[in-house]
């Protein structure tokens, strides 16, 4: 399998405080990868660094063979929680915005996904429930035809029916050659979705494991394993 993402020797500080240290990571394409860590562990920061939103003071990030920021941006769809839009913006205007800004945005895919998720294009952001907003975020992110999707806590705070629909739309619309990184601090519900998990702890990447490996080697579920890692109960390899 080709390598979709490679991070070498990444260090990131904010206001002189270390946020991420000595990050090295290599991920194969075609997979769905869970990025796990407690709140404040640096999951969102790492995604923003990969997507080129935060500038990188130290280290190298290569996406699909390129380290050039402008090229990387074209290869990544990063879920946007739409905070930049006015509360009165209609869903259809957000779609228009995406269509204008991202040449790889597929109206066809968006129409399919938004129909599946029951999104009403006349609705305004201010009228959306947390669940519907979460669905919209996913529909927009998945409608771009890119190599790498970064989904930042797509299920956080979302009711269980909407969670199921979101998970199922990820399965339906992920193309075979694309790679998805999903961050979460609660794993059980997405465990069946994941090939691998990347665990962030103590400001660095603690471990990259395959879900099957965890189940076969430790006879643990991903959630239990993750909890044990946080409690210091599983030895690092």
């Amino acid at each position: 399998m080709a390598e979709i993402l490679k991070i070498s020797n990444l260090n990131y500080k904010k206001n002189n405080k270390k946020i991420l240290t000595n990050i090295d990571l290599s991920l194969d394409s075609g997979k769905i990868i869970g990025l796990l860590g407690e709140n404040g562990a640096g999951k969102t920061t790492l995604m923003r660094l990969i997507a080129g939103i935060n500038s990188l003071p130290e280290g190298v990030i290569t996406v699909d063979g390129t380290a050039k920021k402008a090229e990387i941006k074209e290869k990544i769809s990063f879920s946007d929680h739409l905070n930049g839009f006015g509360r009165n913006t209609k869903i259809k205007d957000i779609e228009k915005f995406y269509l204008n800004v991202y040449p790889d945005f597929s109206s066809k895919k968006y129409a399919e996904i938004s129909e599946y998720l029951d999104l009403d294009k006349e609705q305004r952001l201010s009228n959306l429930s947390t669940g519907t907003l979460g669905k919209l975020v996913i529909a927009l992110a998945l409608s771009r035809e890119t190599k790498l999707y970064l989904l930042d806590e797509p299920l956080s705070g979302i009711d269980s029916m909407s969670r199921k629909k979101i998970i199922s739309s990820i399965i339906r619309w992920k193309s075979d050659d694309s790679t998805i990184i999903i961050s979460d601090h609660y794993v059980t519900e997405i465990a069946s979705l994941l090939d691998d998990v990347v665990i962030i702890k103590d400001k660095t990447i603690y471990q990259v494991s395959s879900v099957e490996g965890i189940q076969e080697k430790y006879h643990l579920g991903v959630e239990e394993y993750y909890e044990q890692v946080y409690e210091g109960g599983v030895s690092n390899e």
Binding site: K164, E212, G221, V222
Partner: protein, 124 residues
């Protein structure tokens, strides 16, 4: 889908598909749903479904046809073998439990026969 946390999901999917084959929900020679359809049905990643199908192919229970998808074998002996294998697995756990109650094989057989008879009575 509810999975057992600590058992690889591809094994659990394989098990469910095998049960559907031996119960004839998926008939001999019939076509299985596509990988994507199965992935959605099982709320699992396509790679995981592929892995389950690969093992089923290696075990000759399904046969991939290029460009068409996966088909259940037409060989009834393979399905029979699969059935006895799965039935044996189900008995394993029960047998171990009964054995741990210090029951010998004759007692186990006898209590099983009584159990089946009792069920028949209850169902009449």
């Amino acid at each position: 889908m509810e999975y057992i946390d600590n058992i690889p999901i591809y094994l659990q999917i394989k098990d469910i598909l095998y049960r559907k084959i031996i119960s004839n929900e998926y008939e001999l020679n019939s076509q299985l749903p596509s990988v994507r359809q199965l992935a959605v049905q099982f709320s699992a990643n396509s790679n995981t479904v592929q892995k389950a199908l690969k093992e089923m192919t290696d075990e000759n229970v399904i046969i991939p046809q290029r460009g068409k998808g996966n088909f259940v074998t037409g060989d009834v002996t393979i399905v029979k073998k699969l059935k006895s294998h799965i039935v044996a697995e189900m008995f394993d756990a029960t047998y171990e439990k009964l054995h741990s109650l210090n029951m010998n094989d004759n007692e186990i057989m006898e209590s099983f026969n009584n159990y089946v008879k009792q069920r028949e009575v209850n169902h009449e």
